[in-house]
Amino acid sequence: MTAGPGQRSDAGAAEPLLAVKGLTIDLPGGARQRGLVEDVTFEVRKGQAVALIGESGCGKSLTSMAILGLLPAAVRVAAGSIHFDGVDLLTCNRKQLRKVRGGPVGMVFQEPMSSLNPTMTVGDQIAEVRRLHLGERRSVALKEASKLLSRVGIPNADRRLGSYPHEMSGGMQQRVMIAAAIACDPKLLIADEPTTALDVTIQAEILELLRDLRRDLDLAVLLVTHDLGVVADFCDDVVVMYAGHIAERTPVDRLFYEPQHPYSSALLAAVPQAGRARTSLTVIPGRVPSAGHFPGGCRFEPRCAHSVEDVCRRPQADTAIADDRRTRCGRVASGDLILKGTVRG
């Protein structure tokens, strides 16, 4: 198990590139739908790769959308702050936010086919970013777009500029998305499940590309995923989310050795192990509660194998257990519960 490039060398001292504090996202209208995301706090430092991980519906995508103010119209941020490079993106004006979007923060989405404009050539979609942010003329921006296409590994870049998204494979489309996202040399790339919609072999290629870009551009990455393998491969820190809460925040290697939240350890146990024949698949009993039906205490309590009624039915606090580790499990925080990882240390 390696922790990937860009080790936590500049940890601590420097101000983080991205600091999300107490982020709470509501669906207004009725108390029942409160807290789709509640009290989410994490940081991404310069050049660091952080994973936001969790099952579908745990609020990880909402969290990533909130950073650039791209939440659907129906939901809104109710509390918290999102500082990027010292500026609170939640309170800055529209113009400032527009400069950040596509400029110092690039974003890549899950389904490249539907996330690219079907009526615009890929060249124009990449060039658009430079035209918007650097005021380049179309011809100049298209030349840059061609370089970017080569940079993300698309052959015959000059010819490909005039292609439309539907003329490309899914992997190519995702490369185009990445080219557009890095067009203005961002410091942070937010990647919302960038490989989920792709074939396994293509997934590996895209991850490889992201890894190269991180190294060459000193790019920080916030990777939203539900794939633990991707996390282990690619990230420095991991933020485990469950039902709108952060369950655990930890350096990625520690997660596999000694998870600090029963949900993390259950997730680890649910990863099928290659090479072991005829073992039955471990699953987490029950399902993620839907928004508005979250339990009042620990949100994982109804599905937790380690639940102790009088402790776990009370709301749990996000507690630091080491410099770089936090958990929302009261039993773990108090030393009452010690969980075992899946990786034999």
Binding site: L68, K99, V100, F109, S115, P118, V129
Partner: protein, 315 residues
């Protein structure tokens, strides 16, 4: 759009026209009563009727009749009017300009008003603008064009003498003059289509706004006019253009009523009189001419569709 595709569409259009020619030809055969008797008049003798029948070739086998008629229309010969001895083609070409121009102007009115209102409504969903557009659109669709025409005449021509109430002048008599005669009829004809287009455009814009690629564009820093023009309108236009093509045929039918209200002697009055007089060659000519226009408009719409939608272009 590839050349092959243009040829395919063109071929499709010609096939439709050929089928229309068969139906038009059969029209005369199927209608009760005998053309020769109509021409001969009420007091004609049997000998006179049969002489006319031979003159018109009605005694020949039906296939032979059709082929000689079809060869004729290929050469632009639609026969002669039964009553004036003028050629049908000449009569139609003479009557066509006001009808065609009012129809085209109605399309312009519909696109300008309908698409603009639809875009604004779609972009401001839930606002008072959006609600007023929806309400007006429902009203516009529900209102019959002859009634709308009369309201327009009474407001803009009778109560306030701004525009002429009836008639038509050729554009060669001055653009301003021509425009003053065209505005009211084309508005009366086009508003219902404008309402239809407004509703469709609103829906399409609202739909496109929810698409992931609009979110992507926002994530790149696009906003305002840039976002609307490059990412929303072109995608929203694809279904709207289809609706416009379907509406074209409706407009050509609706123009007959509007012509009647405004006292314009165009194809509409020609068609009505021909039907009342059982002037069969004229009816056939009118039907064929209308079919050519509808097919031509749809061909243009198809080509525009391919230009807007790159997926069709390469298909």
């Amino acid at each position: 759009m590839s050349a092959g595709m243009v040829i395919r569409r063109l071929g499709g259009g010609l096939l439709v026209l050929w089928l229309v020619s068969i139906l038009t030809f059969l029209l005369v055969q199927l209608i009760p009563g005998d053309v020769a008797e109509v021409i001969a008049g009420e007091n004609a003798t049997v000998a006179e009727v049969s002489r006319i029948r031979i003159e018109l070739g009605l005694d020949k086998p039906i296939l032979e009749q059709y082929s000689s008629w079809f060869v004729g229309i290929l050469q632009g010969d639609l026969g002669d009017s039964l009553f004036t001895n003028r050629s049908v083609a000449d009569t139609i070409i003479e009557a066509a300009p006001p009808t065609v121009i009012i129809t085209l102007m109605a399309i312009v009115v519909a696109v300008v008003i309908g698409v603009t209102a639809g875009i604004v409504a779609g972009l401001t969903q839930g606002s008072w603008i959006d609600r007023s557009v929806s309400a007006l659109a429902t009203l516009g669709i529900a209102m019959p064009s002859f009634w709308l025409a009369m309201v327009l005449v009474s407001v803009f021509a009778l109560a306030n003498p701004w525009l002429p109430a009836t008639g038509y002048v050729d554009i060669r008599e001055g653009f301003g003059e021509w425009l003053s005669y065209v505005i009211l009829p084309s508005t009366a004809l086009g508003l219902a289509t404008a309402a239809e287009l407004a509703r469709h455009t609103r829906g399409c814009v609202a739909d496109v706004l929810t698409r992931p690629y609009v979110r992507t564009a926002r994530a790149r820093g696009a906003s305002g006019v840039w976002l609307v023009r490059r990412h929303i309108l072109r995608n929203a236009a694809i279904p709207v253009v289809t609706v416009l093509g379907l509406q074209a045929g409706r407009l050509l039918g609706g123009v007959i009523v509007v012509e009647a209200v405004f006292g314009i002697s165009g194809l509409g009055s020609l068609a009505i009189n021909s039907v009342l007089q059982r002037n069969y060659p004229m009816i056939q000519g009118y039907v064929l001419f209308s079919a050519v226009i509808v097919v031509a408009i749809n061909l243009i719409v198809d080509l525009a569709y391919g230009w807007i939608n790159p997926k069709v272009r390469t298909a």
